[in-house]
Each structure stands twice: as structure tokens, then as C-alpha cells.
């Protein structure tokens, strides 16, 4: 029997009110994350993937509001919680790692201070116990000579080391869910491989769930169990990772996969590209937001938002072509 989900998101819609007007950055997003699994959200800039993560953590900016949606985590509704209760959830139960560790670390405090802080505040450990635990966490993320690194300042570390420190801080209170928002995007490819390997190892040892947000299908292929593909604020496809790559159901997914140049293929003159540009959230095309860039688009795509059509037990796509024989 399948384990009940750790996180369940139903019909999440987030609106932003800005000077130019208001728009929905995320529309009707639903998904689940089961214990010990990795769900990847893949999408381009403006697809709503990071806003989805911020909404889960209730860390949306002031200009944003959750218009609809239900977020259940570990059997309770997160929206019902007070800010104080939510603070306890953040860090202790759900932790987050971002793309740019330099922006998240305080430049004038030592690494030791910053790793110890959540241990002392969230877990109430004494200074001495917190220090011992902090060194253990730094070894857990494979930082060499943790005692020395405790005394260092963020600028003295490389990008990869800083990301390891951020992971150590995120893990400090033993979260059940780790949200990793483009955790390797700013890193070189060899460092990226090391960080992904570290996350995979930690996930197995600590039995965490991971919500991985990325624009990189290569990272998704290596790391995710299940995938959500987002485009212009909506989920357009949900699938186990293998099926997504073998039988993409949405033309956008298909286009993304085809435009990734292979490492070991014969030479081709041109790369298969998705024509056009990502639409502005203020000027979304009517109907399916992808239709102006879609080579399969027909009249019906310009009027209604396509519902999800099944491609497998846990695989569906929001496209009118899906589930019917290709014309």
C-alpha cells in the first residue's frame, strides 16, 4: 500500500498585486509528496515554481496573497496555523535551501554561529551542546575540518562549501521535508555532481522528502522520482520521472526534452527549438497558455483551459491531444 502523503497541495492559486495590476503567478496547482520521495518541479522563469515553494512556507512577499488552495502537511492544514506555529514548522519540519547561499548567509557572522543558531533557538540546546551538534552537521555534509570552518566567515568559503553549510543549517532540526530551490544552479558542474550526490545520500539516511525546484531537466532526470512540469503558472504535466522522459504528454515537455542537446549524438545542423517566448504574466494568451508556441495548436486550444487527461496511473497532462490518438 502506498504511504499517505506527507504534503498535499490542492488547488493552490497565488495572486500578486503590483503597480502594473494584478496577476496570478500560480494557478490551481495540486500535487502530493510522499515520505522519502523526491518531487521535482521543472519550469522556466515566471512559471510559478518558486512562488509555489514560498506559498508552502508562507513566506510570500506582501504583494502576494493565497486566493485559493489547501496545504496539508503531516496531517494538518498549514493555512490554519498562526505565524508563531508556522515558525515552528519552518526549520523544524520543513526546511529550505536556495540557489545563492551567499545571499542567505549573514556575511558578518561566523559559520559556527549560523549553524548553531537554529539549534539553540528551535531546539533550545545549550551553547556547548549546540557546538558539538553543529560540528556533527558540518561533517554530515562532508565539510573537511569542521572545527576550522566553524570559525570561518562565509566569504572565505567557495560556492560549493557555502551550499554545504546551507544544507547543514537546513538539516539542523531534522526536517521531514526539504525544499531545494535551484540548489545547484549557481555551481560548477563538478560541484553540482557532488552536491546532488550529497543530497541523495542524506535523503536515504534521514528518510526525508525533497521538493526539488529547477529549470534543469538533467538534474530532474538524475534526482526526482516524480515530476511536475509548470508553464505560465500552471502545472501542465504530472508524471513519474521515467514516463515523463519516455512518453512526454504535453507538447511543452516534449519541446523542452528535444531542445536539450545530447552529449553523445551525431552532429545536427540545428537544435529543435521551441519558437517564441515565455509569455508575460500580464498578457497571458487565452486558452492554453502554450498555444502560440505549440505546433499542434488548433482552435479549441485558444478558447478553453485544457483539463488533465490521463496517460497512466500517475501520469497526466493538461493538453487536448492527450488521451486521444494523434491526428
Amino acid at each position: 500500500m502506498e504511504a499517505s502523503p506527507l504534503l498535499s497541495v490542492r488547488d493552490l492559486t497565488v495572486a500578486f498585486d503590483v503597480r502594473q495590476g494584478s496577476f496570478d503567478a500560480v494557478r490551481n496547482v495540486s500535487f502530493e509528496v510522499r515520505p522519502g520521495r523526491t518531487v521535482g518541479i521543472v519550469g522556466e522563469s515566471g512559471s510559478g515554481k518558486s512562488v509555489t515553494a514560498m506559498a508552502l512556507m508562507q513566506l510570500l512577499p506582501e504583494s502576494a496573497r493565497l486566493t485559493t488552495g489547501r496545504i496539508r502537511f503531516g496531517g494538518r492544514d498549514l493555512q490554519g496555523l498562526s505565524e508563531r506555529q508556522m515558525q515552528a514548522v519552518r526549520g523544524r519540519e520543513i526546511a529550505m535551501v536556495f540557489q545563492d547561499p551567499m545571499a542567505s548567509l549573514n556575511p558578518i557572522l561566523t559559520i559556527g554561529h549560523q549553524v548553531m543558531e537554529p539549534l539553540r533557538i528551535q531546539l533550545g540546546l545549550s551553547r556547548a551542546t549546540a557546538r558539538v551538534r553543529a560540528e556533527e552537521l558540518l561533517s554530515l555534509v562532508r565539510i573537511p575540518s569542521p572545527g576550522q570552518i566553524m570559525r570561518a566567515y562565509p566569504h572565505e568559503l567557495s560556492g560549493g562549501m557555502r551550499q554545504r553549510v546551507m544544507i547543514a543549517i537546513a538539516l539542523s532540526c531534522g526536517p521531514k521535508l526539504l525544499i531545494a530551490d535551484e540548489p545547484t544552479t549557481a555551481l560548477d558542474v563538478t560541484t553540482q555532481a557532488q552536491i546532488l550526490e550529497l543530497l541523495r545520500d542524506l535523503q536515504q539516511r534521514l528518510h526525508m522528502s525533497i521538493l526539488l525546484i529547477t529549470h534543469d531537466l538533467g538534474v530532474i532526470a538524475e534526482f526526482a522520482d516524480d515530476v511536475l512540469v509548470m508553464y505560465a503558472g500552471r502545472v501542465v504535466e504530472r508524471s513519474p520521472v521515467a514516463a515523463l522522459f519516455d512518453r512526454p504528454g504535453h507538447p511543452y515537455t516534449e519541446g523542452l526534452l528535444r531542445s536539450m542537446p545530447p552529449l553523445d549524438d551525431e552532429d545536427r545542423e540545428t537544435l529543435p527549438a521551441i519558437e517564441g517566448n515565455v509569455p508575460s504574466p500580464f498578457d497571458l494568451p487565452a486558452g492554453c497558455a502554450f498555444h502560440p508556441r505549440c505546433s499542434y495548436a488548433r482552435d479549441a486550444c485558444r478558447s478553453g483551459i485544457p483539463a488533465f487527461a490521463p496517460l497512466g496511473a500517475t501520469h497526466d497532462a493538461a493538453c487536448l491531444r492527450t488521451g486521444r490518438p494523434a491526428a
Binding site: 522556466e44 522563469s45 567557495s158 560556492g159 560549493g160 562549501m161 560548477d188 558542474v189 563538478t190 560541484t191 553540482q192 555532481a193 557532488q194 546532488l196 529549470h215 534543469d216 531537466l217 538533467g218 538534474v219 532526470a221 538524475e222 526526482a224 520521472v241 521515467a242 515523463l244 522522459f245 511543452y252 519541446g255 523542452l256 531542445s259 536539450m260 542537446p261 545530447p262 552529449l263 553523445d264 552532429d267 545536427r268 545542423e269 540545428t270 537544435l271 529543435p272 527549438a273 521551441i274 519558437e275 517566448n277 515565455v278 508556441r293
Partner: protein
């Protein structure tokens, strides 16, 4: 006299920066060896890709080739002209033939200038008439996949991909022979990258352009390059035609770099060459082989002797003590 096959010939190029005791001090306490003895050639109409991790000196090399910065020593010959010996007037006339395209073209544009003026700016500076400029802009915009009317708009009205097209039009304005493309698609959305790559390779074929293509993305490089040079800490450690480099890389660093690229297919576990640690600082270049501290095959000789590039036949060279020369 016959025309040299090489458009670019770089010999023992070095760029060292002094490290001063403080910002106002004259006391030099060390040297950053950003580029440290680099030699290569680029044929007419060819694309040489320069790959490596951040801090390896690839962008500095690109700037040295166009003499945006002065080399510490070594020579750069462009079409048999030694560019470091040119006076300002001579340099200006050679520079028309060499251009740069940057990662984020948008941020280098003056936001108050219309697209037409931005594209024409290099021509105006070269003393061309307003009529010539206008006619050339009308020619250039369709060439990069934009409409002639776009000349009257401002850069902020365009998406990242379109701004990169404007940057390419501007680089083409003076009909250059040689373009340094410095991470030209890294800042773009995945779905737009392929479009811009196709535009660049199409323009190259049409106008016989020669490219130095600087990138950290080994998939894109696999698609665009004829030959690939791998840089590590200011040196080229391996150079070969594309097929050879991707199929039988000889330097342990090249192998590590290639094996770190995610496979791009779920369930495919790539055998990863283990890379420990991260790129050292160009402030403290290790003695012997620069890579020995991270290399799983390092021997005693690697700690003391700096390996030279060894000829492996067919233009393939690698700088490693384990590589046997061609007899």
C-alpha cells in the same frame, strides 16, 4: 602571399594581476595567475570552444584576444597582425573586425537608447553616416529574427532572448570576421536557448564567421564547436576536435568534467570519475600539475613537475604525465 589558415594565433599568453597588501598599498604580496601560458589557433570559419569551471580564466582569455585588457606577456595575432603592438588608431581599425557577445546583453545596453541606436552605435563610433546606419539596422533586425519596426522600441520592452538577438545584431553591425561569444545563452530560459544557438550557427555559416565560444555548458558546446579547449587554473589542459574530446578525453580533468554532466535520462547512472574538492584559487596555483590535488591518479611526479601539452596526433593535445606522446 597566401592567406594564413589561422585567423587567430595565440602564443604563451599570460595575464597576471598583482595582489596588493591593501587597496592603496604599493606593496605586492602575491600574483593572481588568471591566464598563465595559453597557446592555440583558430581557423577561419571555425568555432573553438573554451570550457572550464568558473575562475579557470576562460573569460579573461576572451578579453585578451580582443585586447579589452592588456596581456602581461605573450602574443595574439589576428589575421597575421600582432594586436598588442598596435597604436590606438590601428587597434580601432582591427577591432571593427572582432566583436564580443556577452551573457546578459540586456544589462550592457543603455536603457534610454532605442534598439536602432543601440545596434548602430558601433557604426556611429566608426564614423559612418546616419543614412548608412539606418539602412544597416533595417538589414540587421530581420537577420536576427526581429522586425525592422523594433528599431523604434526600447530594450526593456523585449524578453531576454530578444535582447540577446539585439546584442548579436549590434555585434554584426560592422561586419566582423571574429566574434568572442562569452556564455551567450547561459542566462536564457531553456526553451529559448536553442533558438539563439541556432541563430548563431546560422549566421556563422552565412557570413563565414569565426567564433571563440566560451561556455560552461558541455551540451551546448558539443553542439556548436568544431574544436574544444579545456581550461583549468589559467592553462589549457586538453585541446582536441569535438568528436575526439567527447569520445576519448585523455586528461583526468576533462574526464571528470564530462562525467559530471547529468545524463539527461532517468535510470541512466553515469560512471562518474570522482572529483574531490573544488578548483583551487588562481592566487595560489599548486606546484607541479595544477590539478594534482583533485586528481585520483596523481603520482609523485605530478606534485613537482608541471606537465606540458603533449601531442597525441590529429591536433589532440593533453597536459598530463600519464598521457603517452605520439611517436
Amino acid at each position: 602571399m597566401t592567406v594564413a589558415a589561422h585567423l587567430i594565433r595565440v602564443d604563451k599568453l599570460e595575464k597576471h594581476y598583482p595582489i596588493r597588501a591593501s587597496a592603496f598599498s604599493r606593496r605586492v604580496t602575491g600574483t593572481v595567475r588568471a591566464v598563465d601560458g595559453v597557446s592555440f589557433t583558430i581557423d577561419r570559419g571555425e568555432t573553438l570552444a573554451l570550457v572550464g569551471e568558473s575562475g579557470c580564466g576562460k573569460s579573461t582569455t576572451g578579453r585578451l584576444l580582443t585586447r579589452l585588457i592588456e596581456p602581461t606577456s605573450g602574443t595574439v595575432r589576428f589575421d597575421n597582425i600582432e594586436i598588442s603592438e598596435l597604436d590606438d588608431a590601428e587597434l580601432r581599425s582591427v577591432r571593427k573586425r572582432m566583436q564580443l557577445i556577452f551573457q546578459d546583453a540586456g544589462s550592457s545596453f543603455n536603457p534610454r537608447m532605442k534598439v536602432g541606436s543601440l545596434i548602430a552605435e558601433p557604426m556611429r563610433l566608426a564614423g559612418q553616416s546616419a543614412d548608412t546606419c539606418r539602412a544597416r539596422v533595417e538589414e540587421l533586425l530581420p537577420l536576427v529574427g526581429m522586425a525592422a519596426e523594433h528599431a523604434q522600441r526600447y530594450p526593456h520592452e523585449f524578453s531576454g532572448g530578444q535582447r540577446q538577438r539585439i546584442g548579436i545584431a549590434r555585434a554584426l553591425a560592422l561586419r566582423p570576421d571574429f566574434i568572442v561569444c562569452d556564455e551567450p545563452v547561459s542566462a536564457l530560459d531553456v526553451s529559448v536557448q536553442a533558438q539563439v544557438v541556432n541563430l548563431l550557427t546560422g549566421l556563422q555559416r552565412e557570413f563565414g564567421l569565426t567564433f571563440l565560444f566560451i561556455s560552461h555548458d558541455l551540451r551546448i558546446v558539443r553542439h556548436v564547436a568544431n574544436r574544444v579547449a579545456v581550461m583549468y587554473l589559467g592553462r589549457i589542459v586538453e585541446i582536441a576536435d569535438k568528436a575526439t574530446l567527447y569520445k576519448s578525453p585523455q586528461h583526468p580533468y576533462t574526464r571528470a568534467l564530462l562525467s559530471a554532466v547529468p545524463a539527461g535520462r532517468p535510470g541512466v547512472v553515469r560512471s562518474r570519475t570522482e572529483v574531490v574538492g573544488e578548483i583551487a584559487s588562481a592566487r595560489a596555483v599548486p606546484p607541479g600539475c595544477r590539478y594534482h590535488k583533485r586528481c585520483p591518479y596523481a603520482m609523485a611526479a605530478c606534485r613537482t613537475d608541471d606537465p606540458e601539452l603533449t601531442d597525441l596526433g590529429g591536433g589532440h593535445q593533453a597536459a598530463c604525465h600519464l598521457v603517452r606522446p605520439l611517436h
